[in-house]
Symmetry: C2
Subunit: 204 residues, 2 copies
């Protein structure tokens, strides 16, 4: 664990964290001083150095507004839900931290699809869910893919035929999680355009 902070040091760190999280722009030394009523910039600089030494902040020499949080404890604490018992909020039971910014960087090979229909309801993909998709024309067995069947786009499991049926052609087929939809062989008319890497649902 990181060294403990004093009350005052925590206050300073919290102010900086708030500013970075809310305004996306690091405060300057004088802005910190202004907030706390310090009449000297040196005071703030001393705090920054302590916070840096204790591993909570990264300072960049001679760079304006360049404070960076190196707080692994950013984001939302992920607490495990034990099958029998209340969620454990104790420090030891935190499994990790959910950091929205770190889930994925926006990039050209990612896009986001809004799910329609109930063909994947059995796999927990409901109508309206947002699917983060990586563009790729290949995928592994059992992965969830976005495929173009003729002219229609669908989300399905990509499955390989059992070994016993080797030599079969095509080797892969698309399977819905909902039994009422039938399997679809992967042929020339059926192309994988991406793989679902994440599902996001928001309740209003």
């Amino acid at each position: 664990m990181k060294p403990d902070l004093t009350v005052r040091q925590k206050q300073v760190l919290n102010f900086i964290r708030d500013r970075i999280n809310h305004d996306r722009i690091s405060p300057t030394i004088r802005e910190v001083a202004g907030f706390f009523g310090f009449s000297s910039t040196g005071t703030v600089r001393d705090y920054l150095q302590v916070l840096s030494r204790k591993g909570y902040l990264k300072l960049n020499k001679n760079k304006a507004r360049s404070l960076e949080l190196i707080n692994q404890e950013q984001g939302l604490a992920i607490v495990g839900m034990v099958a029998c018992g209340k969620p454990q909020f104790a420090q030891e039971d935190i499994e990790g931290y959910l950091q929205p910014e770190e889930w994925f960087k926006a990039s050209d090979d990612l896009f986001c699809l809004k799910a329609k229909g109930d063909s994947m309801a059995g796999a927990g993909i409901m109508e309206g869910d947002l699917l983060v998709v990586r563009r790729q024309s290949q995928a592994q067995n059992n992965e969830i893919v976005v495929a173009l069947i003729g002219d229609e786009a669908t989300v399905k499991f990509l499955r390989r035929h059992k070994d016993g049926k080797q030599g079969r052609d095509p080797k892969y087929f698309l399977e819905a999680a909902n039994k009422k939809y039938s399997d679809i062989p992967v042929t020339e008319a059926t192309s994988v355009i991406g793989r679902v890497i994440s599902v996001i649902r928001k309740y209003v």
Copy 2:
């Protein structure tokens, strides 16, 4: 729509966007100049003003490293999946943009729970899903809540008894999405500790 940008203007904007998204710190005018090989800071300033006038950037007077993207087009484009037809990647069909940073700010009244069991599978909440939960002891009818049943934490729908059964006590009960679990009345031993506002699933 926003005014169009020239090729060069786009390049400058892209550079700034990359820097902000990757380093989290806005570049200075001179850093932009350096990247493009401009020998004058005025050149960059002119670009910034154009980008600001056209509505892509926010400039803050006399503030170092304070460029802000006011690009609604940040993040991942959300394209609608038309029931019959390929996903529409055309500009007009983009329904919005997925901005991880904007989903929610880390705050004290939010936490994240890792789902266990299959009691909510019917509502698309699978084992291992991350549930973003807002701490609250009240909730509306039909919302998905985290409740403490005696000593055990569960995720369930909060339902109100039909009007016909008015006067009944308790008024609310907890219902699993999976039929094999039975309803649980909300009593003193059963307290709501939060509401599920979002579900996130990542495939490895």
